[in-house]
């Protein structure tokens, strides 16, 4: 059973790199209180007969039983309107939807590999691990084009979650993409006989590269995918994901958005 409910913007905070954090308040306890990292919400403003469908956003923070936040960047008209939203503005919210990442497991080291707007589910995962006293079992590898594209990094420091940052221009952290430190880390784990797994979210080219590394080395990996969605709850069938198995397609919204890397049918 899903819930659709009205929310009000309680804060809209501009971050670096064009990112913004939108905090939404339902005013009453809602299902987002139990969001698992990787689950998402469909959000839509009072946009009349245009921008018809909700926009899917992975939940960034669950602040209490009625408030949560999302991280966004302007990609099109919908996110453009969201960036201009002010406290008190109304939206409708449907969610939380989909399935999240596997639960925190202290018997393995979870490498959280995030790129760009793919940060939220892994940020939420790190928060959850820290809250459960399992911060040492997670390590963040987070990349962006430049230093401005890396946001909310202080929070991970506060939770004492190890993080390796990368930028393509070398303006902060390791120069290059997330696969550079990821490869090092996988080799170190292999040399030490350490069991690691990868949880990743980010742009599709990044996920493809992460998946290739993981499959190559036989490392367990879970990818949080993003596809065009009209409904978010398994009806429009727009968000097909090519998979291996009895059927050629799964649905990002109801079967995912988190998929085991080996299931995804990518070249």
């Amino acid at each position: 059973m899903h819930e659709q409910f009205p929310v009000q913007v309680s804060a809209n905070e501009a971050l670096t790199g064009g990112y913004f954090r939108l905090t939404l308040d339902a005013g009453t306890p809602v299902a987002t209180a139990h969001t698992r990292p990787g689950q998402f919400v469909m959000l839509r403003g009072a946009w009349g007969r245009d921008l018809l469908n909700g926009r899917a956003f992975s939940v960034l923070e669950v602040l209490d039983d009625r408030r949560f936040s999302v991280l966004a960047k302007v990609f099109g008209r919908g996110t453009g309107l969201m960036k201009a939203m002010e406290p008190g503005d109304s939206m409708t919210c449907l969610g939380p939807l989909g399935n999240g990442f596997p639960v925190v497991d202290t018997s393995v080291t979870s490498l959280l590999v995030a790129g760009g707007v793919g940060l939220p589910p892994l940020h939420l995962y790190a928060r959850e691990a820290a809250r459960e006293g399992a911060a040492p079992a997670v390590e963040m590898i987070y990349g962006g084009r430049t230093r401005d594209d890396l946001v909310l990094t202080d929070e991970l420091d506060a939770w004492q979650v190890a993080q390796t940052l990368t930028t393509e221009d070398g303006s902060r952290g390791v120069e290059g993409r997330v696969t550079v430190p990821l490869l090092d880390r996988l080799e170190r784990a292999s040399a030490n006989g350490e069991t690691v797994r990868i949880l990743s979210c980010g742009p599709t080219p990044m996920l493809r590269a992460v998946r290739a590394l993981a499959l190559d080395r036989g490392v367990e990996a879970h990818l949080c995918l993003e596809e065009q969605m009209a409904c978010g709850y398994g009806v429009c069938l727009g968000c097909a994901v090519p998979v291996h198995g009895p059927r050629p397609y799964a649905y990002c919204c109801t079967d995912g958005p988190v998929f085991p890397a080996q299931e995804v049918r990518w070249a």
Partner: protein, 329 residues
């Protein structure tokens, strides 16, 4: 269901006879926008709907098209899902019992990949008559199948022959869903009407496309897709009006961008006996029930005692007095 069940606080009798099909109200949900109904049970009381049209069913299951399959456009969206569905057997065994229990008008949308498979599909699904199937909505208009489909929906003689064969294959009323992608919609409506269709659904999506100029690629993997949503409502209304004017005895189920009670009433006034809500369900799962509530309020406000009275009630704009040039005799 009696007439009393269609009366409520608004005082408007919203019961509708759609040819042989009795509807407790004129609001249905549209095929492809409501799956097989179950997903919506958590959002709304499905028994309050007049009816629903299922995802299109074909004899064998289909997996659908490559992605991207959808793209949102100005006041609309393009889709090219590819008629993904579970097939007749799984539908009858696993999906229909849920719908049967709702006690609403269940229209099973169906299609084939060639003439014989249409007829086979109608015959097989018609076996669901005693298990809740009220009507078979024959899709001769989907732009998203490559093989065989296009002439069924665009050539009147072919549509007539196919409709007649399907009508003869089953006791369940056949409602033919027509494509707007034709030059003469009245000729198509007349062809299926004369072939024994109980009514028609107007309109399916309008074929369109969108382009990503940065990638220099179409937005959909299949290049073209079906446009739905408020962007197509004026075209849908025009077609409903044209067909109703030419064939007033043919029941029409109107659809195309209905998001409000006022939208629905426009369709009734143009000549539709009932309507379907489609794209609106995506952003607002119980949209059809909101539209129904708004429709009842609006009918009451405008003095309609019965929804039926609104059907085809459009009046023409009074003619202007003839023009005489200044100083003319």
């Amino acid at each position: 269901m009696g007439v009393t069940s269609s009366l409520d606080a608004s005082g408007v009798d919203v019961g509708i006879d759609f040819g042989p099909i009795r509807l407790k109200n004129p609001l249905l949900t549209a095929s492809g926008c409501f799956a097989y109904g179950q997903q919506f049970a958590g959002f709304m009381d499905l028994r309050e709907l007049g009816g629903l049209s299922t995802k299109g069913i074909s004899p064998a299951p289909r997996f659908g098209n490559p992605l991207p399959r959808i793209y949102e456009t100005a006041s609309g969206m393009l889709n090219s899902i590819g008629l993904e569905n579970v097939g007749t057997q799984v539908f009858l065994e696993e999906k229909l019992p849920f719908l049967d229990a709702l006690d609403i008008s269940v229209w099973v949308n169906f299609f084939g990949t060639d003439f014989e498979s249409y007829v086979e599909c109608a015959r097989t699904l018609g076996e669901g008559k005693d298990r809740g199937v009220s009507a078979l909505e024959m899709n001769i208009s989907c732009p998203n199948i490559k093989k065989g489909g296009i002439e069924f929906g665009t050539v009147p003689e072919v549509a007539h022959r196919l409709t007649k064969a399907c009508v003869e294959a089953t006791d369940v009323p056949i409602v033919v869903k027509l494509t707007p992608n034709v030059g003469d919609i009245v000729a198509m409506a007349q062809a299926v009407h004369e072939a024994g269709a109980a009514g028609i659904s107007l309109i399916n999506t309008i074929t369109g496309m969108a382009i990503d100029v940065r990638k220099r690629r179409p937005r959909l993997a299949t290049t073209y897709g079906g446009l739905s949503g408020p962007a197509i409502k004026p075209v849908a209304l025009r077609m409903v009006h044209q067909v109703h004017a030419a064939l007033p005895e043919l029941p029409i189920c109107g659809m195309g961008g209905i998001y409000s009670g006022e939208d629905a009433l426009e369709f009734l006034m143009a000549g539709a006996s009932c309507v379907q809500v489609g794209t609106a369900n995506f952003a607002e799962p119980p949209a059809a029930l909101r539209v129904l509530a708004e429709l009842k309020t609006l009918l009451a406000e405008l003095g309609f005692a019965r929804a039926e009275d609104a059907v085809g009630s459009l009046e023409s704009i009074p003619a202007e007095p003839p023009y005489k040039a200044e100083g003319a005799q």
